[in-house]
Symmetry: C2
Subunit: 392 residues, 2 copies
């Protein structure tokens, strides 16, 4: 069994590398506009988000595929900013010349969301609680309005409009990106021809809303949190690290995590000395999370958690009412071993669309990564994706 697993992992890795050869060189760009009114009815005086694109926009502007990013991700979906970059964008295995999302055909555009978690990452351009409130000259903190997935979509719509784009050949997103992709097809049904939801959901259920709250509490209860007003002092990095560690561990299936983490030691001396002492297994997760924490912003994570918690496609009475709007062809690709957004969530949306006579396509990604199969095992669905994008 272990041998089989290793073979499978190597296979995935080889397939991934084959796809990932010669990444495009890409450039991060910025888009700003004024006076955005949120779903909640508040106005944000100035919104700026980052974006990047792969391939060329054709004259008819009808070859556009929008990529929407996951919770801890950003617009960097493919290519490298510099040939020296250690890694290309997260979906480089499927976005590029001749790949499943073929940049020889399509103009692929990917944007940062509002309230991006890693607000302090120099490659992220976002607007959120850590941004300067022009009315006060200080960071918004919790004065920033609560935003929803629909707000992410509306801001992306403004970005596309600024480029003269009215129509999407497809919108494709993984995890939180899948919520945006589906919301696009509900909010702007005439603008979206195809929708691909990878490791996604149609609505958050009570269980997942609770699971998301576990990500919020370490930040809310960090002694440095101070009601979100910590920009003049110490950031709530202990809480942020706890949250990042949960996300990392929950997004990975035990099989892969156990292969990558150190082997647990038998009765390690330090662990027997004090319950406060760490072990190599714990360091593997938590030291890494603490190292990444300064790039994230605690308030931004709280806003992302809330946006996800509030998600039901269409934000109408129930999911079926929202999905009734959908005109796009739809493809759902949940991951069989996903422990974070389990396949029943995508299946629920697909089943409702089927009941509505819309013939969604549904296939599960098989893999050993769990939720992360949506990123790392996506090459196994490259043919499905390519055929879906080429279909009439």
């Amino acid at each position: 069994m272990q041998r089989l697993i290793l073979v499978l992992v190597l296979l995935v890795s080889v397939v991934g590398n084959a796809y990932a050869s010669e990444p495009l060189l890409v450039e991060k760009q910025s888009f700003s506009f004024e006076n955005y009114t949120t779903v909640g009815g508040e106005t944000i005086p100035e919104v700026t988000i980052g974006w990047e694109s792969y391939g060329e926009l054709n004259a008819a502007k009808d070859n556009v595929i929008l990529i929407t990013h996951f919770f801890s991700g950003n617009s960097h979906a493919a290519g490298k900013y510099s040939a020296d970059d250690a890694l290309p964008g997260y979906w480089d295995s499927i976005i590029g010349p001749g790949k499943a999302i073929d940049t020889n055909k399509y103009f692929v555009i990917s944007s940062d969301t509002l309230v991006n978690a890693f607000a302090n990452d120099p490659n992220v351009i976002t607007t959120g609680p850590a941004s300067i409130n022009p009315e006060t000259g200080k960071p918004y903190g919790l004065d920033f309005p609560v935003v929803t997935i629909r707000d992410f979509v509306n801001v992306q719509k403004r970005l596309l409009e600024s480029l003269g784009i009215e129509q999407l050949h497809a919108v494709v997103g993984a995890s939180m990106g899948s919520l945006q992709a589906l919301e696009w097809s509900v909010a702007y049904p005439d603008a979206v021809e195809r929708m691909v939801s990878v490791i996604g959901a149609g609505a958050m259920d009570a269980w997942t809303i609770m699971a998301l709250e576990h990500w919020a509490r370490p930040i809310k209860h960090d002694p440095n949190f101070n009601g979100g007003d910590y920009y003049d002092g110490e950031a709530p990095l202990t809480g942020v690290a706890s949250t990042l560690a949960m996300i990392t561990q929950q997004a990975m299936h035990p099989v892969i995590m156990n292969m990558r983490a150190p082997k647990p030691e038998v009765l390690p001396e330090a662990a027997l000395e004090s319950v406060l002492n760490s072990t190599p297994v714990l360091d593997y997760l938590f030291a890494n999370s603490l190292a990444r924490a300064p790039l994230a912003d605690g308030n931004h994570i709280l806003y992302l958690v809330r946006a996800n918690q509030l998600f039901v496609a269409g934000h109408q009475g129930d999911l079926a009412s929202g999905l009734a709007n959908v005109k796009a062809k739809t493809l759902f690709l949940p991951a069989s071993n996903d422990l974070l957004l389990q396949p029943y969530l995508a299946k629920q949306a697909a089943d409702i669309l089927t009941e509505q006579g819309k013939a969604p396509q549904y296939e599960e990604i098989e893999g050993l990564w769990g939720h992360l199969d949506g990123l790392f095992s996506i090459p196994s669905k490259a043919d499905t994706l390519k055929a879906f994008l080429e279909s009439e």
Copy 2:
């Protein structure tokens, strides 16, 4: 599908109630002894634990079944302390006269562990960081030695010896109780005839060790924690509540949680007003956890987390070396939908025993509760359990 689920749940509930009719009246007892030396080589001057029993010890003292409890449980496995009690002990559906663990035949004994999580519950008798250190007259706090699952077993052995019991017809435990049950059969192979591991594991893997650490961090990082020295001040109840909420949510499969929790509201006003505002779904979990928090002790939870993190049956070089000691007949009953201790953990132990030629019995509990199927769906394995206990 929803209708099928409801029928199944009602069925489980009816079967459970049938088994639970006329619970025994039981009495909590206390056992103390002095100078216990831990696996880590530290001495605890005085140990006191609670216990209770169901059925009668025979003259040969060879009809004993030991029940070992789960992380948030205690010795109250069956019966009621008073006829007025709202609920009987957690496994009353399978422990009692004529039930799977038949108290007409067996003397069933169940004990509280060291460092029980709910140290402040009047029905729990335990020794741990909240106990008074006789050397200082104050609670131990983190001066209490780190203890292991083997320590829980060794203390239970002393309890049994005080009753003149040298031999166990069986040891049966769920979750953390399964670790104790297996450890009994490794540590005292000649004393254990049968071992039943319900929703259990043979060793903690890296993934589960990390998952357990998420339960520890809210307490360690609560502003009131103060290095575990909080007994003269405010207890770290916010952290404890976060931990209890995680345990509750992770022990339940989404199907059951979604049926029991309030339906998520569409864009509730309070949730749109501030990321700090709660919702009925969140209140359902967190208000309940906060209400239970004062009965738990933060340090005790940290010690339980550590005991579980350190577990590999036998605490030897690897799991196979530990299991090589086992002479008992073994039965593993993981739950198919368990998200907390997934079935692969029990299967790993069973597979090693099979390789060692020991013919373990392995069956999965089917149910919709997830980890809690080990408690609530156990009646579905009553016949298996009964036959196993009656087998030669």
